[in-house]
């Protein structure tokens, strides 16, 4: 039992953090987000130079071949720096799904190297998201159809833009027609692939929300350290301090839940879905608490377009609705814990299966 990351995982996270601090400053992101596509080929190329687009691509296809546990710390940074979904959808989710198709097949040979190099953007259409992110700039769309996986070219889809309050997002409704020629995996093969993709989508959401929570906390703390009222720095007031301290608590008790979820996905545990659902609950709570506390610390400034807080706050809010919304995840936990076969209580924290017969117990004699 060892709940710490390897030093190389921490080192990679630190390198990405340093890179994004310079290359993804809020003023640069604002500029990119004001464009029609909302995306910058130049930034994508530099992210690729850092190896970010190659993480999930196997070495045989020009990638690095790392796993979910390597991703999770990076995902937190992508949240902290508000990097739009195109990167996660392409480099983590689509690359993950394509890599898990068996064999050395054409679709993998064509797309995995291009994902690794940062050339290709892949959008993903699944019923858990009514709108598809970044379909307009995608070179390929992976579409769900009755559990089958279809690879669809951009010229074969019709898009209706659905603009979001989160200015980083480019959402569309996608009309398309499944054909035998677009199908890359039938329902039998596709169902488990989609299941893994959904777990990863959930993990990515939770990890980004934890990163966003930390960013909003930092912004609130910074603002409160500068603003003066009644002749004092407002950060000296307990009424300002305590809600921000509560955000630090919420992050502390979301992060390890997210990390366990990454571990469970990486190991293919039967309980991974449950672990992801717990991560979604804790991360969402931390993110919403951070948004609330930070906007309050900012006062009227927090309600403006001008203050950077809004960029992170809006992402934190809208992420809740993706990859199985929060209601879905909460309902899943409730279903699990109220099941008569549920293995609850101490000693089951790291069970790999959910609902296995509870361990034999001596009868409880007092609290």
């Amino acid at each position: 039992m060892d709940f710490t990351f390897e030093s190389h995982q921490i080192a990679f996270r630190d390198a990405i953090r340093k890179f994004l601090m310079v290359e993804a400053a809020p003023e640069m992101l604002r500029e990119i987000w004001e464009t029609t596509s909302g995306r910058s080929a130049d930034l994508r190329a530099r992210l690729a130079d850092q190896g970010l687009t190659a993480l999930s691509v196997p070495e045989d296809f020009g990638g690095i071949g790392l796993g979910d546990l390597d991703w999770v710390l990076v995902l937190q940074e992508l949240g902290y720096y508000a990097i739009p979904e195109s990167l996660v959808d392409t480099a983590y989710l689509a690359a993950g799904l394509l890599s898990e198709l068996s064999g050395d097949i054409e679709i993998k040979r064509e797309w995995l190297p291009r994902i690794a190099s940062g050339e290709a953007r892949v959008a993903i259409g699944h019923p858990s998201n009514p709108f598809v992110a970044d379909a307009g700039t995608a070179n390929l769309l992976l579409m769900w159809h009755n559990d089958a996986v279809h690879a669809v070219r951009p010229d074969a889809v019709k898009l209706t833009a659905q603009p979001s309050i989160d200015n980083s997002r480019r959402l569309s409704q996608v009309e398309w027609k499944p054909e035998a020629s677009t199908r890359i995996a039938d329902a039998r093969i596709g169902a488990p692939l989609w299941q893994r993709l959904l777990l990863r989508g959930g993990l990515a959401t939770a990890a980004q929300q934890v990163g966003l929570a930390q960013r909003m906390l930092d912004l609130g703390v910074d603002y409160a350290a500068q603003r003066k009222q009644f002749g004092k720095i407002i950060g000296t007031f307990q009424g300002v301090k305590h809600p921000l301290a509560d955000v630090a608590v919420a992050i502390e008790f979301a992060e390890p839940v997210v990390h366990r979820a990454a571990y469970c996905i990486g190991r293919g545990h039967a309980r991974a879905g449950h672990a992801v659902a717990q991560a979604r609950m804790q991360a969402s709570e931390a993110a919403h608490k951070a948004a609330r506390a930070s906007i309050q610390a900012h006062g009227a400034m927090g309600y403006t377009w001008e203050a950077d807080l809004q960029m992170f706050m809006k992402r934190a809010w809208v992420l809740d609705a993706g990859w199985g919304d929060l209601a879905h995840h909460k309902a899943r936990i409730a279903e699990d814990i109220f099941d008569d076969q549920a293995a609850l209580g101490p000693s089951n924290t790291f069970s790999t299966h959910y609902g296995e017969a509870p361990a034999p117990r001596v009868s409880a004699v007092s609290r």
Binding site: M1, D2, F3, T4, F5, E6, L69, L217, V221, A224, A225, I233, G235, T236, F237, Q238, K241, H242, L244, A245, D246, A248, V249, E252, F253, A254, E255, P256, V257, H259, R260, Y263, C264, Q278, M281, Q282, K330, I333, A334, I337, F338, A342, L344, G345, P346, S347, T349, F350, T352, R361, V362, S363, A364, V365, S366, R367
Partner: protein
Amino acid sequence: MRLEYTERQRAFREEVRQWLSEHLPEKPLECLDTAEGFEAHRAWERTLFDGGWSAVTWPKEYGGRGCGLIDWLIFEEEYWGAGAPLRVNQNGIFLLAPTLMEYGTEAQKQRFLPPMASGEEIWAQGWSEPGAGSDMASLRCSAIRDGDHYVINGQKTWSTRAVYADWLFGLFRTDPASQRHHGLSFILLPLNLPGISIRPIKQLNGQPGFAEIFFDDVRVPAENLIGEEGSGWRIAMATAGFERGLMLRSPGRFQQTAKALVDLYKDNQTQADRDPGIRDAITRGYVAAEAYALATYRTASRLAKGGKIGAESSTNKIFWSELDLLLHETAMKILGARAQLLPHAPEAAGISHWLDGFLFAQAGPIYAGTNEIQRNIIAERVLGMPRA
């Protein structure tokens, strides 16, 4: 990262489980804040000690088992999972002992740790005074050196377990001219010395879980000083760190409560489902208890690799105390009119521990440093916000 137990750890869990199943008292012990209940709990400490389970993380030479923190967590999970009795000597074993290990002389360790492990000497805490609660640095109870003794005068209050306990550890002002956190010393003393009078204070449950302690020229041998004279504040802060940090409230306790809450819900589902918030609260409570366990495993893993306890001291305190409230408030809602019944009420059979737990949960955000103090600590020392 490796989130599986080793074969050795699995075997250890089995060993704990087996031992508990063979040694647990047949019926629940009486409340430990009654004279009889206190002695019954003392006897249980002895049983634990004889089995080698009373202080698993201590070195063997002092009566422990030499276990690491992950083993400690496994032990605690089994302990709470089995519904074993509360630990009447937790002040000593979990709070004073780590301080003694770090700051005590070898002679002090030899003298105090073994009888602590066996329950022969049960410890009370002496921090708060009438004028020094959250603001502990304003304490005034004095201990003035006189030859090879300290002479203690003044008053302590809210002293947990002091009504029946044998010994007290706490902070005293050894330099009468000193201010605030200077001139304080960490001293141990037996509660039967001449000049000590103890006035029980009834807690919410009507039992004397607290006491006021009055000192009138009480002479304590100077060898009972821990560390240097005047270094008491630093040593006490270390104690407070251990207390809030990790060992006072292990996650198994809350996971067991969360599990029991699910069972309570199932047994009373018709009543419970009248309030659609109940299932939601149980779900949140279960997830939070699990989050607390995961965070604790993370801290324990970090400490096992040589890390130091840091902000977890304060974040943990806030989290578990609020979690405990959520779990017990939810149980009270499920139980409705029966929630208020005292243990001897005929309709209270099998449920009165929820009332006990609910009352005790009210104290959680107050003791071991109020949650407001913890939020100040987090804001100033973790987030770097300016002091008032």
